[in-house]
């Protein structure tokens, strides 16, 4: 019995050592080169070439675009490694507040970023690096026969949204509310559409999955969620601009970042023309397209 405990404890210790005993998401891997973090505190004039590991906490909707930007940055800077933790913005904020180690935080909305600043998790001023809009998606075979956005209120339709605690869910409800104000939709549109909600997914990518699988008749997601793979399996309905929401994505360096030089390099890469180009290819609107709400 005691022997079992010893073995279990040893195994557990190894696992702990393996993940560097950091809190947070599933992204951690051991930093094997001890030199990686050591240079960070060194003189600022060495800031030219970022090295070591940069941990980026980013909203789930940024998954594909950020991975591409990260890979490019790594290719341009040998010795630099970008590690991502993608999740709902709120979950990331909570992880940061509980002391998860990260260098960069990119949120899908300004409310969450503001909350993270109030938590004391953010250093410096967040910058808006992208904008996004919502679209309605339907399974390719369109089981409910949805023809237009107004059909979302049809009784019996199965609508899946992101949970209202995550930005995508909050925006979706804002859009439905705005539609209710619009005579073209009718005043009971909002209530009827909300009554059709069968699930509040904790992450916007789960909304896409439920529609892709054909389990839901419709979902409301970011335009950027309709990736090339997804596009083949869903139909996209645009939401009229006058009722749509423009989501602004802020990015910032995390308080007490272990690798501020690397963090700065990543943020610059996201804001660079090449980074903006990558984001645009993934369905984001450029940060500068003045679509203030």
């Amino acid at each position: 019995m005691a022997l079992v405990a010893v073995v279990a404890f040893l195994a557990f210790g190894l696992v702990l050592a393996g993940c560097g005993a950091t809190a947070g998401g599933a992204e951690q891997e051991a930093i094997t080169e001890p030199t990686g973090g050591a240079m960070v505190s060194a003189t600022p004039e060495a800031a030219g070439a970022p090295t070591g590991e940069v941990t980026v906490f980013a909203a789930a909707s940024l998954t594909d675009a950020f991975q591409e930007i990260g890979a490019q940055l790594e290719a341009d800077n040998p010795g630099l490694r970008i590690v991502f933790n993608f999740a709902g913005s709120q979950a990331l904020r909570a992880q940061l507040a509980e002391g998860a180690r990260a260098d960069v935080f990119a949120s899908a909305d300004e409310v969450t970023m503001e909350g993270a600043r109030e938590d004391g998790s953010i250093a410096g001023e967040p910058l808006i690096f992208a904008q996004n809009q919502l679209v309605v998606i339907l399974p390719a075979d369109n089981p409910a026969g949805v023809q237009e956005v107004r059909d979302l209120a049809r009784p019996g339709l199965k609508l899946v949204l992101a949970d209202e605690t995550v930005p995508a869910g909050r925006y979706a409800r804002q859009v439905l509310a705005a539609m209710g104000q619009d005579p073209a939709f009718g005043s009971d549109f909002t209530d009827q559409a909300l009554a059709n909600v069968v699930s509040n997914e904790t992450n916007v990518r789960q909304v896409v999955a439920k529609v892709q699988l054909g389990e839901a008749d419709a979902g409301i997601v970011y335009a950027s969620d309709v990736t090339p793979t997804v596009r083949a399996e869903v139909t996209v309905l645009d939401i009229p601009a006058e009722v749509n929401v423009v989501a602004r994505y802020p990015i910032a360096i995390v308080q007490n970042a272990g690798n501020p030089t690397g963090a700065q390099a990543f943020i610059e890469a996201v804001l660079s023309p090449a980074g903006q180009d990558t984001l645009a290819r993934h369905g984001f609107l450029p940060a500068s397209s003045g679509g203030d709400q």
């Binding site: 019995m1 005691a2 022997l3 405990a5 010893v6 279990a8 404890f9 040893l10 557990f12 709902g88 709120q90 979950a91 909570a94 089981p143 199965k158 899946v160 949970d163 605690t165 995550v166 909600v197 069968v198 699930s199 509040n200 997914e201 904790t202 789960q206 439920k210 699988l213 054909g214 389990e215 839901a216």
Partner: protein, 283 residues
Amino acid sequence: MSDWTALAGAVEAKPERERGRARRPGLSPLGGAALLLVLFLAVPLVALVWRALGEPGVWAAAGQPLVVRALRLSVVTTAITIAVAVVAGTPLAYLLARRRFRGKRLVEVVIDLPLVLPPVVAGVALLMAFGRRGLLGDALGAVGIELPFTTAAVVLAQVFVSVPFYVRGARAGFQAVPVELEEAAAIDGASTWHTLRRVTLPLALPGVASGLVLCWARALSEFGATLMFAGNFTGRTQTMPLAIMSAMERDLDAALALSVLLLAVAAAVLILARLVAGRRVEP
């Protein structure tokens, strides 16, 4: 495989007689390692309760509709799961313990797989089988049944991942009953049903009960398969674990309240099961 039986045995809590060995002062290295492990298991639970007690908002949060509805849904769905386990799982456990039949190995594998499968995989598998576009989706749709996003889907997810725990426990329970006792009862003129009810079941009860507790605990904690197959909707498919996940994103107090509540319920059932099993073993 026998570790499952051992696990079941740990829950059923036969009070082991402690050896009256004189204790030496100080800890041996083995004892130290064991103590560290026990501390590692206990500290997070203590920390959870400690934090919850320290947050004044937690007790108010426990009365929130989100919390109450999640608790009610969890109680109802796990009760149905337990009923399914007893009604369908008991005969299966008995057959596996007592009979040889063709394909028995295959049945055993089918029972064991959900035990080792990550719950998310179970959720995807359930969608592939019972989803609208799943293997049986058309047949179900033809009779007007759509399972995803319903409370029924929550129960199906729980049954899938947890009833195998019951079958394993109950089977071990039946195997612990000497066949000779059943034969003796039969010779004395007892009918098969009578033998089962008066001899086999009472003697198998510790195994059956421990299987039931494990099954219930697994159903109560079910998360991944439920999220995949049943979605997340307050009062309909949002069980306690899903509510904790949602609450973490909005209201730490509610998440803490739900967590402590779940911990308390689980502890209460474990203690109850120990008491019941203890009484049975030493009347």
